[in-house]
Symmetry: C2
Subunit: 219 residues, 2 copies
């Protein structure tokens, strides 16, 4: 992978609405880093599955984790063929004709095989990076993972080698013949916000900076 | 399907964290109806795919649509085995120990085979229902679909027969041995909001009620 572009494969060359495709690494990273959740498509003997799970990026890999007993993690290691998708929906786009309505969004797809993070140092670093993403600075405050907890947890990662990014922004694109049709046109935006931190009933400590800042930032 | 419960199958009986599972129809409908986007897992000769697309519910079916040329729609009709997932992420849950951190969310999975909505009356009704979901009342204002536009569009639906719902709310659940560890605990919530409607540069009409109300409601 070069510093600025992702080499598209036959799978990741966007086939529909190809003018929206972007293979730039910066866009890919921005979409992945804005997400806390991805959806993973994989297959086992019962068929196709689409499972939401937490994800985080370190460099040129996307990471997931779970219990050693997770059927998804086990299957991803048995038959690593997977597709991971992150999507952010930004707005409804209202055009003059019914069929020209569309949505604004940012989405990234990653194809490939997951690999297990077996090295204990790498596993610790990966879990630390997840905590740092969720709540910067909190890692030093929590009770850290025990050897037993780490041993019961599987961390997987997939290389950002075969990826596709699709994004749409802006207003509607109407047919020339529809421009005289009198109806309001524009965008109905979604916001991705953060509410004020909610202390647990059993909490005994003061709000830390990352929690105090949470409700004042957009997600 | 009964009026109040979904019969779980071997695929939809939630295997991990089974205490979070719910098979109630009302919860399923609420999660699906709050979504504009689903992720669909399916497989073709190139592997597994996870594609985001617009979705809407009519009764006991979830609908999607697209161009007749869409490789996903064609593949879903060739090999209907699919899994459709809708997820809403509601918050990060911060516990006293690193490994007890979790997320609050609502998710629904639908397994089954998509079928084509071939009847032209049903196709019109389905597309009308989508418009009514996006912008209630707008259907009467837009330039309606032409016979050519309908002919170029495929509408598929999947029965809500084999479904699983998973939800989590509330604060962290710490181990008894961690309760004396001094760190703030609670939830960092995500909000799913709506921004004020943005008129297109070429718009010439007044803001209709559904667009005026958009920015004042939560999504």
């Amino acid at each position: 992978m070069t510093a600025t572009a992702l080499p598209p494969s036959l799978r990741t060359r966007v086939r529909r609405v190809a003018e929206l495709a972007s293979y730039e690494q910066a866009a890919l990273h921005a979409i992945l880093d804005a997400a806390y959740l991805c959806h993973i498509a994989f297959r086992d003997d019962k068929g196709s599955h689409c499972i939401p799970t937490a994800c985080w990026r370190i460099g040129d890999h996307l990471y997931i984790h779970g219990s050693n007993g997770s059927r998804m993690l086990k299957q991803l290691l048995l038959d690593g063929d997977a597709c991971v998708t992150v999507s952010h929906l930004d707005g409804l786009v209202l055009a003059r004709s019914a069929f020209n309505h569309t949505m604004n969004y940012r989405s990234a797809m990653v194809y490939g095989q997951f690999e297990k993070v077996s090295d204990i140092g790498q596993q610790h670093a990966a879990m630390d990076a997840l905590m740092e993403k969720l709540a910067p600075g909190r890692l030093a405050q929590v009770r850290g993972g025990s050897a037993k907890e780490y041993a019961a947890t599987t961390v997987l990662r997939i290389a950002l080698d075969e990826c596709a990014v699709k994004q749409r922004t802006g207003g509607p694109l109407d047919d020339a013949g529809d421009m005289a049709h009198a109806v309001w046109t524009g965008e109905l935006p979604f916001t991705h916000g953060r509410g004020a931190a909610i202390a647990d009933a059993l909490n005994t400590c003061e709000l830390p900076p990352y929690a105090a800042a949470w409700g004042t930032e957009s997600a």
